[in-house]
Amino acid sequence: MRAIHRKLLRDLWQIKGQGLAISLVIAAGVTMFIMYLSTFESLRRTQGAYYERYRFADVFVSLKRAPLWIEGRIEEIPGVAVVDTRVVANVTLDVEDLDEPVLGRLLSIPERDTATLNDLALLRGRYIEPARSDEVLVSEGFALARGLEPGDSVSAILNGRHRELKIVGIALSPEYVYNIRPGEIVPDEGRFGLFWMGREALATAFDMEGGFNDVALTLRQGAVEADVIAQLDRLLEPYGGLGAIPRALQLSHWYLDAELAGLQGVGMIIPIVFLAVAAFLLNVVLTRIIAVQREQIAALKALGYSSREVGFHYTQWSLVIALIGGAVGTVGGGWMGSGMISLYNQYFRFPFLEYQLSADVALGAVAISFVAAILGAFGAVRRAVRLPPAEAMHAEPPASYRPSLIERLGWTRWLSQPARMVLRNLQRRPGRALASVIGIAFAAAMLIVGLFFVDAVDELMFVQFNVTQRQDVTVTFVEPASSSALHEIQRFPGVVYSEAMRSVPVRLRHGHRSRQVAITGLPNGAELNRIVNTSLDAIELPPEGLVMSAKLAELLAVEPGDSVLLEVLEGRRPTRRVHVSDLVEEYMGMSVYMEAGALHRLMREGNNLSGAFLQVDSAYVDELYRRLKAVPAVAGVALKSAAIDSFRKTMDESMGLMIFFNVLFAGIIAFGVVYNAARISLSERSHELASLRVIGLTRAEISFILLGELAVVTLVAVPVGLVLGYGLAGLVVAAYDTEVYRFPLVVSARTYGFSALTVLLAAVFSGLVVRRRLDHLDLVEVLKTRE
């Protein structure tokens, strides 16, 4: 090994505490980077392979009923490659150990061949046999949640008749990677079961012989998706087509993509903060080292080392620190990434999901840590390179001090001599003080970023379940019912109060943009399901026009006052131009509302309802559920308590660990910054402090001079950090702003308090570490050295 490299290693060993602190900050950033991006990549790769191997379709459409020969007409549409028609039906399941009704969805599969599109991955058991009409395959999520095995049976109400479905196998479909019940926020797999049944048996049960009500198709290379969809919709309109959707809007795919986008966004933002802090710390430490090694630099130059070699030598300091951080972070990120994947494996159902840390991501991590190292080293090393060797021979001239601003304002009498030294020292290096303030502020900010998710989720749940959706139970009907249905439901046991809900599938068009959504018609003055503005006050729906979520307005590029073309996709399918009256900020999905009366007028119907919101007496719920299960007209029953439970469970499982690590990492930053600042002050001023001790100042007094400076810096930094944290939380919220969900930017006093306290504790801890060194200051040794 060359002597210059030995110097590097031994010098680094000298500053191992500081070096390690910086390495840890880099490691934390790299860990996050690797964890998020490798998870993103693994999911993306798995998604692609799964879709390809199991022939996931490009376009999907549901309809009322079309005769089989239409399939040939669909195939003739230019750009269509493969067409698969199916029978799909939602049913109520009767699960033995559960009183509440459970939603089941039956999907037809060929009795003999495998499905041409959206093929099943058979995990266990066997495929159905042609002659046995009661055999079904069940989705893995439901089977796991309900403890179902091949050989078990499930009782379902098919078209008003009880049927026993015999499970012969457990399967997965690329259509249901994220298996969410329509209208819910997070999957609750025990309450939504998928069953694949032979085509003939299913068609017979639902009077669909010789017909179909669901189409999936793939496109030829170069086909224009929008054109195919337009033609398909025209073709299926007479058959009650509900509007075709491209893969991008297919529910499972849509959620999966939103999650992937969030992972990628956060995986980019958070590591940048850590690496920026690391770069700053490296800069401070290297600047100090180069000041201490002035004469060594002069010697190296005098010996014939070129400026470039000297520059590279000091750059290597930071590269070694970054390399250690990068290596630790890569291992840590890989470990945490594989943990994160298994977490995702609970929500996304893939037949295979392998965690893979690609060389690209690992190299990317090493590259960004090197970039941080080089950026951090740059300014400091440039000074070393520029230092004229003759000048470096001499010690630095004594620093020039001035009376501090406070003293010049004439407030001197309030300041003790040590306090004046603290202030003057801060003022002498305002850049340094500012940099420390920013570094510590980032620590506080990262804590806020780590913790505010709890606040955001709390707020989201509060708004979702306490302010807007105040009903206990939502009942949806198979077909729109007349207003008398509400009176009937009102008479069910335990129903305290009920409100009608009308939901109409529509397509909204504005220019070339369009979206399929369901318009929810609500009565004004509703008590249960309410629409609220940003201050959470219930708003009145206008007598005409639409109120839509701001996210949907953004996607359609409309503003209040604009009009959109509204094509109803059920009943007489009227098409109207309707103006947008108002926008509401909502956290979940993309909703459109209309006053119930206006919606009925639009539909030219009476007070029809698609379902009802119920407030129930908890003493009677079991009986209510039993009754609802037996009503064939009821398509689904959604329970708020179940939704809250599954939401909480999902959030707790996925967020607990994340928050723990975020806080840990932010703590590392706080300690790293404060500890470094303290060590550097100590190194710069040990001569001065030792002199003061010799004069007769006590340890406590010199500690005050050194640590007082840190205390001032920390106290200034904390409020700055809280503001910065709010801003960074805003960035994270923006990264998670997807069509599926958005997080409210809410930071609670508790989060601010905890963040501030953690930073202060980290500062006190670093102060104590430095104080210990101060107590062991060897006066003679320090004064002997030439400074």
Binding site: R6, K7, A299, L300, L303, P388, P389, M393
Partner: protein
């Protein structure tokens, strides 16, 4: 400019007027800015140093002697005037060329040794032998200053005199053409200073290295071939010793 390579032959051990010119400086002026004050470190110096010559620059602090040495060694550049090293102009060289010049031709010894504290004696010397074109081994260089038994000691484990001898070993390990010493005994006591001066004298005598030593100690001038006295940035006087005295016989 292209600086001349190391002289191929330094057989002439005695100093003669006829021997080759190593340094030639004309009208050297150096002005520093120290905050708001201008310091005239050198005010028009003319100087010639010859092959294998042992020169002592004598003067009080602030006389400009360190500045002169730094300019000769390529560590500093004058505000005005020209310096030639073996016919090549140092004052026309850029940073890269000056680095190459120092690397290949100059050995420096400083008052405060400027050893790298994290490297052992051997490694401090290796720092130079690893980049010089035709070096001694670190062991040979340390042998010349009689430190063979201290090879693996760190600077903090060595006395001041030993540290300075390591610095000398480091300076001569590249077999420099010129050895420039800035107050080499300034931080040492008498006895230790003598050992260090012996080492320098030995290098000059045995290797024929052109040597310049800066000191404010007039006694040291007796071991030189030539003594140049500086004062206030100018050459005050110049003399030649007919008889050199060994360091042990100097009267301090």
């Amino acid at each position: 400019m292209s600086l001349p390579m190391k002289s191929s032959d330094s057989s002439s051990r005695s100093v003669a007027e006829a021997s080759e010119l190593v340094f030639s400086a004309r009208g050297l002026t150096k002005i520093y800015r120290m905050g708001e004050v201008e310091v005239h470190a050198l005010r028009g110096i003319d100087l010639d140093l010859r092959e294998s010559e042992f020169t002592v620059f004598l003067g009080p602090s602030g006389s400009g002697k360190s500045t002169l040495l730094n300019i000769l060694g390529g560590l500093d550049i004058p505000t005005a005037g020209r310096v030639f090293y073996r016919g090549g102009e140092l004052t026309a060289a850029d940073d890269r060329e000056l680095t190459q010049y120092r690397r290949d031709h100059v050995g420096f010894v400083f008052q405060f040794y400027n050893l790298i504290p994290s490297l052992t004696a051997r490694e401090n010397v290796a720092l130079v032998t690893e980049i010089a074109p035709d070096p001694l081994t670190p062991e040979e260089a340390l042998g010349l200053v009689e430190l063979t038994d201290r090879l693996d000691h760190f600077p903090s484990q060595l006395s001041g005199g030993e540290q300075q001898r390591v610095a000398i070993a480091r300076a001569i390990a590249k077999q420099p053409d010129v050895l420039l010493c800035d107050e080499p005994t300034g931080a040492l006591d008498l006895t230790t200073g003598v050992v260090v001066l012996e080492a320098i004298e030995r290098v000059n005598r045995e290797l024929g290295t052109t040597t310049a030593v800066i000191t404010h100690n007039a006694a040291i001038s007796e071991m030189a071939d030539r003594v140049i006295s500086l004062g206030d940035g100018k050459i005050v006087s110049e003399s030649r010793n007919s008889q050199k005295i060994g360091p042990r016989d100097l009267h301090w």
